[in-house]
Each structure stands twice: as structure tokens, then as C-alpha cells.
């Protein structure tokens, strides 16, 4: 009998918890019918959901950008739209639970930041359109064959860095440069893609890219130091989650070796980079908001091509330039509209 009481207890707990879940989910019952009633209403209330993969400054800026766009439209939260935010905090099993929660409800729009989040959602959410933000390369992520030809239910903003821009800035500052270096993270799909794109952009300018892999914060420090011994003319650090979180380490290595540092993240200019060409994540959110509006107003996401972020921030740091004994030519300042 004891055996049965154990099993009975377990299944009782299962049934109880399932019941709680069903009760909390009651308002999705027969939602298809309710929704068609909804659409007859005069004023439109948009039910939007935003999913983050992990807490990072980039995804926070994206969210601010989305909210800023809605504000500029004169939309007010809770009267014109609701924005339910989920965050899987870097955990893949939680991400799957979130995808389940999101797909069981009806949304007018689902927005998701970062690659894995969108990959799960595009598979699970079939009834609501998806707009992605903060995805480096939507093609490698599997969302389509090109920016125009893509899955029918998804569109969004790619935050791929402006590689040609920064390489151009570097060649203006150092006309004779032969080699640049970066630390990259093989574990991050964006990092590998970015490294390859930077390699292309550099070789177009006749520069060789030396890249050293790192898998953890401590390895980033070692990789940065070993780069300095590879006869590079400048650090040109790509942006990925790992190296972005410890860019100070790489900048320190570059200062110790007196090799100028260039980056793709705005805040690195304060940390001592000579110049940056940064995608503006706030702008990415803003652009995604614009796409979201199109989708909400009835445009099918399948017909909207993916886009790059519309704004890149170019900055230089004079103090850093003096430290590395680098001259900032007038041509650079005028071309990129920079002030000394």
C-alpha cells in the first residue's frame, strides 16, 4: 500500500499544480472567438510581449528604444498598449518555458532580443508576428536565405557592427597598417560571424586580421596579451557578449603594449579607445518599434525585409590618441563629422 500512497501523492501534486496553471491561464480559453470580437472595437489596444535572453546593457537599451518609439507615437502604456517583458536570464530551459507561456497566449506582436530567443520563438509562436532586435546575423540564425527572402512570420533589425566603417577609420589614422588583432569567442555565433565579417572588411583594405579565441573572462586577458606579441598595428575588438563584458581587460593589455585600441561599443571611448564605430542599440530598439508599428497596422512580417540599424555612432578620444602617440588626421574628423 505504501507504494501506492507515494505514487498517489506525486500525482495529486501534479494534478494540483496543473489546476493552478489552468486557472491562471483561464483568460486564454476560447481566445480565438474573443479575439474576433476584439477586432470589431473602435479603439485598438495593442498587446505586445518582449522577451530578453539575458540581462545586458544592449538589450536594456533596445527596450528603451522600443519604448521611446511608442512614446513618440503618442501611445501610452496601459491605455494604448501593454508591454509584457520576459527574461530567461541566460538559461535555456527557462527560455523554453517562456516560449511555452508566450505561445499559449494571443499577442498582437511578439518582440525578442538576441538570437536564441528568436530561434525558440519562431518555432513555437505561430499565431503572432515576431519582430527581432539585437540579432547579429539573422541569416546564420536561420531566419531566412536573405534579408528579403525570409520566414513568413518574422522580421526585424540586425545589429551587425559597421566593420567597413571602423576599418576605414583605422586606415585613415594609420595609412601603413598591415595587421590588426581581435579576441573572439568561438562559443558565440555572433562573435564568429563578426570575426569573419571583420576579416573580409580588413582584407578589402589590404589588412590581415589576427584573431585569438577565448572562452572565459580569464582567457580573454591571456588572449589580449598574446595578441600584443603578434606584431599587430592596432587592436580592433569586435563586440560579443564575453569580450564586451570585460573590454577593460583588453584595453589594459593594449595600453601596456602601447598599441592603439579601436572598438565597436560606445562606452569603450570612455575606457580609453582611440575611436569607436558603434551600432546604437537604442536606435535598434527605435527602428524595431517602427517595424512593429507597420506589423501592428496589418502589414505581414513576411513582406518586410530585415534591416540594419539605421544609425552608427562614430567617436574619437583625444586623450587616448595622445597616450598612444596617434595623430588624428583632419580628413578623418571631417569625413565622420567628429569634433576633437
Amino acid at each position: 500500500m505504501k507504494v501506492f500512497s507515494g505514487i498517489a501523492k506525486a500525482f495529486l501534486a501534479l494534478v494540483m499544480v496543473s489546476a493552478i496553471l489552468l486557472v491562471s491561464d483561464l483568460n486564454n480559453r476560447n481566445s480565438a472567438r474573443e479575439r474576433s470580437d476584439d477586432e470589431k472595437g473602435e479603439t485598438r489596444f495593442y498587446k505586445i510581449c518582449l522577451v530578453h535572453y539575458v540581462d545586458s546593457p544592449n538589450s536594456e537599451e533596445c527596450e528603451e528604444g522600443v519604448r521611446a518609439f511608442f512614446e513618440d507615437q503618442g501611445w501610452e502604456e496601459d491605455t494604448d498598449f501593454s508591454l509584457q517583458v520576459y527574461n530567461s536570464q541566460g538559461d535555456m530551459s527557462t527560455l523554453n518555458s517562456i516560449a511555452g507561456t508566450v505561445s499559449s497566449q494571443r499577442w498582437d506582436l511578439v518582440m525578442a532580443s538576441s538570437t536564441p530567443t528568436n530561434q525558440v520563438l519562431v518555432k513555437k509562436v505561430t499565431e503572432s508576428p515576431i519582430v527581432f532586435i539585437n540579432v547579429g546575423d539573422p541569416i546564420i540564425a536561420g531566419f531566412g536565405d536573405s534579408f528579403e527572402q525570409h520566414l513568413p512570420n518574422i522580421t526585424g533589425i540586425s545589429t551587425m557592427s559597421d566593420f567597413a566603417g571602423l576599418v576605414d577609420m583605422i586606415t585613415i589614422i594609420h595609412p601603413n597598417i598591415k595587421r590588426i588583432g581581435t579576441v573572439f569567442t568561438p562559443a558565440e555565433i555572433n562573435s564568429v560571424a563578426y570575426k569573419e565579417r571583420l576579416e573580409e572588411a580588413a582584407s578589402d583594405a589590404g589588412i590581415e586580421l589576427i584573431s585569438i579565441p577565448a572562452a572565459s573572462v580569464t582567457e580573454v586577458a591571456d588572449a589580449a596579451i598574446s595578441l600584443s606579441s603578434r606584431k599587430i598595428g592596432a587592436y580592433c575588438q569586435i563586440s560579443d557578449n564575453l569580450t564586451a563584458s570585460c573590454s577593460a581587460t583588453i584595453i589594459k593589455a593594449s595600453r601596456d603594449a602601447r598599441i592603439p585600441y579601436y572598438g565597436f561599443i560606445t562606452k569603450q571611448i570612455d575606457q580609453g579607445a582611440v575611436a569607436v564605430a558603434a551600432r546604437d542599440y537604442h536606435q535598434a530598439g527605435y527602428d524595431a518599434g517602427r517595424m512593429a508599428k507597420d506589423v501592428l497596422e496589418g502589414k505581414s512580417p513576411g513582406t518586410i525585409p530585415f534591416e540594419y540599424v539605421t544609425k552608427t555612432i562614430y567617436r574619437v578620444n583625444n586623450t587616448a590618441a595622445t597616450f598612444y602617440k596617434v595623430e588624428l588626421p583632419k580628413k578623418l574628423l571631417s569625413k565622420y563629422n567628429l569634433t576633437k
Binding site: 499544480v17 491561464d25 541566460g90 535555456m92 507561456t101 562559443a187
Partner: protein, 307 residues
Amino acid sequence: MTLLIGSVTIGLILAMLALGIFISFRIFDFPDITAEGSFTFGAAIAAAGIIAGLNPLLATLLAFIGGSLAGMITGFLHTRFKINPLLAGILVMTALYSVNLHVMGRSNLPLLSETTLFTWFDQLSMSISGEDATSMILGWEVPSKNLWTLLFCFLMISVISTVTWWFFRTRLGTAMRATGDNQQMIRALGVNTKLMIIAGIALSNGLIALSGALLAQFQGFADVQMGIGMLVWGLASVIIGEALIAEKSLALLITGAVVGSVLFRLLVAIALRWGMNPNDLKLITAAFVFLALILPGFMKRIKKVKI
């Protein structure tokens, strides 16, 4: 209802992870950290295999074998070189990180347009009940294909649990359990305990890799960071199951691990559905595990007071 079905499905897929962790941590008393590596290893093998054109079933089987090999290495490191179990697990897990990257060729493999085990069930559902068919359950509209997926996961975990239960009751399995309980005693009876440990950890990691392979196909991609945190979730499921069932019989402990895993996913789904502040999610899950741990003891005390 879709939410309930989805959560139970994820719970059943991760139940294989819980079973694997139950074998290493409970039966062998071997704190095996390889899990986080072998989970991803399974996902990587399955995804790379499917993309290379392998039959999804074969790719999933290969994932099981791959995971077992990883477990074998951990067991071998421990028994042959006398490396502490924790450290042996850390070594293999760390090495697997690079291996996973090599298997996948990059850090993330999308399976969105590939044929996986789960696409088979979508197709099966389509051929039986028609495209986009829905069923009504208690007034909820549910896509039929979700039901098929759930049924498949349920059958799969039932078969695996039964086979595991049967295996641990054979002579070999009994010797394995005895190895975990009292190594000196069973060695005195002439059993090669080293071999038992290696085989046991291999089985455990095989199941974990199988779970990873299925999750990758379920969610539509494999990612090299998939395994992060899985060990903790699996262990939490095992502990919840144990606390709930509070019995020592093997069949019940195995059932407990499976039920614990499903229960845990349901609790997470409730927390998410209530729309709690996302920053509090981990705090809430920790509170759930804590409650599951103290509740059974608390109930017993209440009963005693009544008498």
C-alpha cells in the same frame, strides 16, 4: 491548456536529464558535473547529424552513445587515476566545450528548416487529423500536433524509465546499486567496482545527452551554451521528487525523478504566467525548491500532532 501541454512536454524531455542525474548522484553517490557538458554534447551531435542528412532517430541514438562515451571518460579518470569525482567531471565538461564547438562547427546550429523527430510527429498529426487540426479539451482549443508531441514524449520517458528500472534489477544492475551503497562489501563479493562505476556514469550521461538531443530538436536549435544551469535544474527535480514520494523503492524513486521534473516545469510556467517581474524569476524558483523540500516534513509533523 497549450501552456500546460507545452510545460509538461518540456518537463518530460528534461526528465531524462533528471533520471541521468538521479543515477550518478543517488545510485552511485557520484557528484558528476559532466552533465552540463554531455547535455550540450547530445544536442550538438543530434543537430550536426540531422543537418548532415542523418535520420533524426539515428542522430538521437548517436547522441546517446556520444554522451555515454563522455561519461565513460569521467568514470575512467576517476577510477583509473583516482581523480576526485567532482574534478573528473569538471575536466570532461571543460573538454567537451571545445568538442561541442568542433562537432557543431560553430556555436549555434539552427534546425528550423530541418526534419527532426518532432517534425515527424507534426506530419503524423497532419496525416491523421488534418492540417492545423485542433482538439477541444475542457473548453480549451489545442493544436493536435502538440498533443502528439506530448504523447510521444510520454511514451518515450515511460519506456526509458521502465528499461532503467528493469536494468537496475538485473544482476548487473544490482551490483551497480550495491557499488554505490557499499563499495567494500561488493568488492569482497568479487565485483569489479571500477567497471561498475564507469558503466553507471556512462549510462547516466547517455540519458543526459539524449535529453539534450531531444530538447535541441524540440526548441529548433542547438547552442553551445545550452547546458549552463541544467545540472542544478536536474538536481532540483530529483530532490523535489524524493521529497514528494519519501520512499526508498527503486521504482518510486525513478517515478519521483520524472514527476519532479514535470512538477518543476509547471511551477516555472505558473511563475511566468502570473507575469512576475522577470528579475525575480530565479528567486521564485529557489523559493519553490525550498517549499518542496520542507513541505513533506511539515505535513508529517502535523499528522503526528493530530494523533
